[in-house]
Symmetry: C2
Subunit: 446 residues, 2 copies
């Protein structure tokens, strides 16, 4: 009898699982249920589509349902899973307003995340730009006109969207309840990002919570109101984060962790349920520096975890080694990156750290195109073990974060990092790479 | 009585030693002897000066003799050290055609490297463009006219110079005796570099040894002759490598290693001679992958080693942890980098390896500016430990080499590298960074 692998969710986590399972077992029946129209799309690319850097939204789709079907994966789009019966190994699904039952032997849950909207009047009228369709509707709305836009939330998605809207000629105000932009960075590093955003013409409003999104009779936004002011808004974009989409799994009896995401072991297994796996934005991952489970919603984790779930669902033995919080974005004239823990996270977790920040240039001073780079490192006092790094700077700055990620991952100490054999040539750095200079500065304190 | 630290050589190694010694001991007398006119200059910057990317040669000088003197370092320029008497702790120096004796308590030898000229008629007429002065003379010669240039040697300096000459409107032929350009890369990766050079208009001639540089009555070159052809040459640039400048130290009785460079321990001490240190292009370094001493001439090592020599010469205890052969260059439209060992080195050293090469894009496919990147990895069979990496690609490609350097340094295996938490955003890579893809491909073979 053929075995059947069912997958809930047709984006990065789910389709990575499906693809590797297909390659590993050609007899397996694989069915993937996706609520929307598209599969395997790059939500990360939506700001660039809105900015017009990507002309055709179709280019954000890495692999269409038909392409998956051509490889022997039975993709059911516009098909929502309503319930999971783990004992009967059966899904209840709805398509074309008809419900049916779908059996499974193995299951991969990759339901992703859902936006957290501000709990204020009018917010429900704003469609989050998290899918290709929603991105297309936003761009169509922009094409219809309007002069002012408000972006609610100044995290990396809010910043990327604000930059995209400025590039479309809009007056953009970004409203953030916290005292800084880019909450994943420490405040001192975030200040450079704010400066870049303002340099591009984005008005940054901090310490103001949105109280109402005022809409006209047609439901279109007209202004955004906070306790301190009113901001005209022909368009509103919401970037106030997302939570793991776990209701379906939790209703089925699967365990959630403290982060609110699905608890999985290092094989992406849902503990206590043989043959049930989960991957992507809906799960917890082990944070190797904090040594605790966290929910970090990133395509890079979703792809890797999906691959591991699909491997293990087909008799393999693959292990997800955890995360360390690495992330990168391009925000206006700066590249911005972080890995490990920042000062705020360290404080919250009761981890004592030393830290140093240096400013340098991305190339030899005499080489054309050199610009500023700031590097902040955190290390464990005593041992000097690197615990975190943040980088802001012009082109060429941010991918250096991967060196710090590798150093954190392997337990390297900053005094050793300071003498590591990193590459040097004038188009790429001064004779001491900024990372070496930052490591030396941090080592003096550790 | 004041102690006196003497330094031979006023470039990266020597002046790094002088600078840190000055900071660590304000009473120490520090005297630095430099044969030329300049101190602390960037020889790596000369191709960019020749290309006109750097207008003023003075910008290549990080710190002038006067700037060093203002910090309390007695720099003697145009002053050549002729002999070292290690027993009497005395140097014989010549300045203004007068010889004198200079005592020392501690000594740092940083005599650098000297060009290896092809042993053919006419080669002695060509001044190697290794110093700021020589760079200025070359640029002056170019300004006087000429249509054709020949670059002898297709290593990274030859390639950088060839690109500079093309940018000045010359017809450039590069002649190399070996069957490939860029001998520090494996042939398959070097082929991409050759393609970039040819794409810029450089004529690349391989497998031809130069037999004569023909000059006119004034000593100016007119053509370059090989066994197979004759190449017109109003200008000739020689980039056939350099050897450690060790005659002075060897004559004094200091030991050379198998590489032909000065043997030093991990504190930059010359064994058997208390208070005598050496640093930079003239010394051997421990190669951590090959586990043997090598001579690698790079400013980044010279600076670090000089700093360590200067620290230890002033009572400190600093250790140079060795090198792994990391290097980067920008060659025409590609960035080019390597670290660890390549296939050729592995074969020579009798090290068994597996290797894989992947081609990918530097950014998400839909993001503007994406271009090709090739990554080749070498790993130890069985353990999968990463032993080497080579990268060629468009902007943003090469600095990734530092991730591989960190992974080699810390003994990471390719299967673990394949799941490492590296950064992802569309302007910087696809959802799997090319390094992760290459690591996965290599892990399959290891």
């Amino acid at each position: 009898m053929t075995t059947r692998l069912a997958i809930i969710g047709g984006d990065a986590g789910g389709m990575s699982a499906a693809s590797i399972a297909r390659r590993r077992d050609e007899d397996l029946e694989i069915v993937a249920f996706e609520r929307g129209e598209h599969t395997s799309y790059s939500a990360c690319g939506i700001p660039y589509y809105v900015a017009g850097l990507v002309e055709d939204a179709g280019r954000l789709i890495a692999r269409s349902p038909q392409q998956h079907r051509d490889r022997g994966i039975d993709v059911r789009t516009c098909c929502e899973v309503l319930g999971i019966d783990l004992d009967a190994r059966m899904l209840t699904v709805r398509a074309d307003d008809r419900e049916s039952s779908e059996p499974f032997d193995q299951l991969v849950i990759a339901t992703g995340a859902e936006p957290v909207l501000p709990n204020v009047p009018g917010a429900e009228a704003i469609e989050p730009a998290r899918t290709v369709d929603a991105g297309e509707r936003l761009r169509a709305a922009l094409d219809r006109g309007g002069r002012c836009a408000v972006v609610v939330g100044a995290g990396y998605i809010g910043l990327e969207m604000a930059e995209a809207l400025v590039s479309q000629g809009l007056n953009v105000t970004m409203i953030e309840a916290a005292p800084q932009v880019m909450g994943t960075l420490d405040a001192d590093m975030a200040a450079h990002v704010q400066e870049a955003a303002e340099g591009t013409g984005i008005r940054v409003v901090l310490n103001e919570g949105v109280e109402e999104i005022v809409t006209d009779a047609s439901g279109a936004p007209t202004e955004v109101r906070t306790a301190s002011g009113t901001y005209p808004a022909d368009h509103v974009v919401i970037g106030t984060g997302a939570r793991p989409a776990v209701k379906l799994a939790a209703d089925a009896g699967l365990a959630l962790g403290d982060s609110g995401a699905l608890a999985v072991d290092d094989h992406q297994r849902c503990p206590g349920h043989d043959g049930v796996f989960a991957a992507g934005d809906c799960v917890e991952s082990h944070h190797r520096v904090l040594d605790k489970a966290v929910n970090i919603q990133l395509g890079t984790h979703a792809n890797k975890q999906g691959r591991i779930a699909g491997t293990n669902a087909t008799g393999g033995d693959a292990r997800f080694p955890g995360v360390i919080g690495t992330a990168v974005s391009k925000i206006c004239r700066y590249e911005v990156a972080r890995t490990g823990i920042g000062e705020r996270e360290a404080q919250r977790a009761g981890i004592e750290v030393v830290c140093a920040t240096i400013e340098d240039r991305t190339r030899a001073g005499y080489y054309p195109g050199a610009g500023p780079i700031w590097v902040k490192l955190l290390a464990e006092p005593g041992t000097g073990r690197l615990l975190g790094g943040q980088i802001v700077g012009v082109e060429g700055a941010a991918k250096r974060i991967d060196v710090l990620a590798t150093a954190i991952w392997t337990g390297l100490a900053v005094d050793e990092l300071a003498l590591l054999d990193l590459s040097y040539a004038p188009p790429f750095s001064g004779v001491y790479d900024p990372l070496l200079i930052a490591a030396r500065a941090t080592a003096k304190l550790a």
